[in-house]
């Protein structure tokens, strides 16, 4: 794919029109990953019904790739079961975006971590391990 910028069109689409931005009013789980000192922080909130992620929102402070991977991970897990969501790896996120520059792969790791953190929070609230 010919790229005119550091990112491909799919990444740029998610940067330009990020899906599921924001915070849920009454989330069942909230997780964050990264920290602002490193220049990236992601926050994901999920709403779960019958073990299915019914709604998901994100907020991200970070580069274009950070915003795009957050957006993509919310798309990938929406309406998935918790177990299906946990199976979404950072590589899957990067792949769904048509690839990321090597130097930006850590953003996809952050997206995976934020999601796991939200699911952990959900389970904690459920009293699960």
């Amino acid at each position: 794919m010919i790229q005119n910028g550091p990112y491909n069109e799919k990444v740029m689409d998610h940067f330009r029109n990020p899906r599921n931005v924001g915070v849920l009013e009454n989330p069942d789980g909230v997780g964050t990953a990264g920290n602002p000192v490193c220049g990236d922080i992601m926050e994901i909130s999920i709403q779960v019904e019958d073990d299915v992620i019914k709604d998901v929102r994100f907020r991200t402070f970070g580069c274009g790739a950070a915003i795009a991977t957050s957006s993509m991970v919310t798309e990938l897990v929406k309406n998935k079961t918790i177990d299906e969501a946990l199976a979404v790896s950072n590589r899957a996120v990067a792949k769904a975006l048509g690839g990321l520059p090597p130097i930006k792969m850590h953003c996809s790791v952050l997206a995976e971590e934020a999601l796991r953190s939200a699911i952990d929070d959900f389970r904690r609230r459920q009293g699960k391990p």
Binding site: G5, M12, P36
Partner: protein
């Protein structure tokens, strides 16, 4: 995008002036000789190189034989700092520089440190100024070189070079300034600045990429970085980049003619940009000195958002800016310069550098002022760092 692109990244590189291209073309097309060759092709090339050398030397108050052409600012910095470290090894092994130098200086010093040279990195104040008194105090009897940049490439602060030069002279220590950002933008006279060595790069003043110069004051011995043929009086080997050098000469000529008016024109536009952004966008700060700054540099931090997102959003509007120095834009580290002036790290991540040029118009600035608030607002709306209601 439909509107004309607006290039506000002149500190990264500048458009080559049409006059410069015109000056270079004959040396790409017909007069392609090697300036070291004795035949007419060679001598024609040599004459053009020497004319450029004379032109450039006079622009900076130097003698032609004090100019060594290089491949750019990085090579000049490496050449001078390593060259002095080697040639003065018997006199000492201590260098003094500042914490806000370009990487071409800092990484070179780092390399030398690994070779056993000791390096003092001077701090700067919150405006980015080096205190000449700090320089004085750092000098020891082992000090062989002081290297302090003329104008900073990120925040635009102009350092007190002449004052530092006086101190260097008093102590008999050689003095280098990296003038890559100031050369062709503000007046430079090597005697007034009291420098022994200076680096410049043509592509920062509407000249071609891949050519620069090292000024070496008469009498200063230095070990070459590029060994080989007899070019440049054996101070820098390699076939001379004739079209590049000719273009550099023409670029200096053009800068000489327009510098005075451009510097006040650009300063006014720069101030309009700074004032406009500070007043229309909350939680924003200016980085660098409010007055002692490059005429074309505006560097601001926008709280709660990250610079790359701002950059990409502006790019989508056809506006080109930078998040820091171009050569490290692929790095994840926040700028060492912003860190040195005490900008908190999160804030440093949300910084943009706008650098104006001869081609920048008031309309360009007004368009930036028009789109920036929306862009910052949109990214802040996505940011987890914004406390609810903290920013409108």
């Amino acid at each position: 995008m439909d509107t004309k692109p607006i290039y506000l990244d002149h500190a990264a590189t500048t458009p080559v002036a049409p006059e410069v291209i015109q000056a270079m073309l004959p040396f790409l097309e017909g007069a392609y000789g090697n300036a070291s060759s004795l035949h007419s092709f060679g001598q024609e090339a040599k004459a053009a190189v020497e004319a450029a050398r004379t032109r450039i030397a006079s622009f900076m108050g130097a003698r032609p034989e004090e100019i060594v052409f290089t491949s750019g600012g990085t090579e000049s910095d490496n050449f001078i700092i390593k060259g002095i470290a080697l040639s003065r090894r018997d006199r000492g092994n201590h260098l003094i520089t500042s914490s806000i130098e370009h990487h071409a200086v800092l990484e070179t010093c780092d390399f030398l440190r690994k070779q056993g040279v000791s390096v003092t990195l001077l701090p700067v104040d919150s405006n980015g100024l080096v205190d000449p008194d700090d320089v004085r105090k750092a000098i020891t009897d082992k000090t062989i070189l002081i290297s302090i940049m003329h104008g900073n490439n990120e925040i635009g602060t102009i350092e007190p070079i002449a004052e530092i030069g006086s101190i260097a002279r008093e102590h008999g220590v050689a003095f280098h300034t990296d003038a890559v950002q100031t050369f062709g933008h503000i007046p430079i006279d090597v005697d007034e600045l009291k420098v022994d060595f200076l680096s410049a790069s043509a592509h920062k003043l509407h000249g071609p990429k891949g050519v620069g110069l090292a000024y070496i004051r008469k009498g200063m011995k230095i070990t070459p970085l590029l060994h080989g043929g007899d070019q440049e009086k054996r101070r820098r080997a390699s076939t001379l980049n004739v079209p590049g050098i000719v273009g550099f000469g023409r670029a200096v000529e053009l800068a000489d003619a327009s510098m005075h008016t451009e510097s006040s024109r650009q300063s006014a536009l720069r101030d309009r940009l700074i004032k406009g952004l500070l007043s229309s966008i909350g939680d924003t700060r200016l980085n660098g000195h409010p007055v002692r700054r490059l005429p074309n540099n505006a560097n601001l931090s926008f709280a709660f958002v990250e610079g790359e997102g701002l950059l990409l959003s502006l790019d989508m509007e056809g506006i080109a800016v930078s998040t820091g120095s171009a050569c490290t834009s692929s790095s994840l580290e926040p700028s060492h310069v912003l860190k040195a002036i005490g900008v908190p790290v999160e804030l440093a991540h949300g910084s943009l550098r706008f650098t104006l040029g001869r081609d920048t118009t008031r309309e360009d600035i007004d368009r930036v002022l028009q789109v920036m608030p929306g862009i910052v607002h949109r990214l802040r709306a996505m940011s987890p760092l914004v406390r609810k209601g903290a920013v409108s």
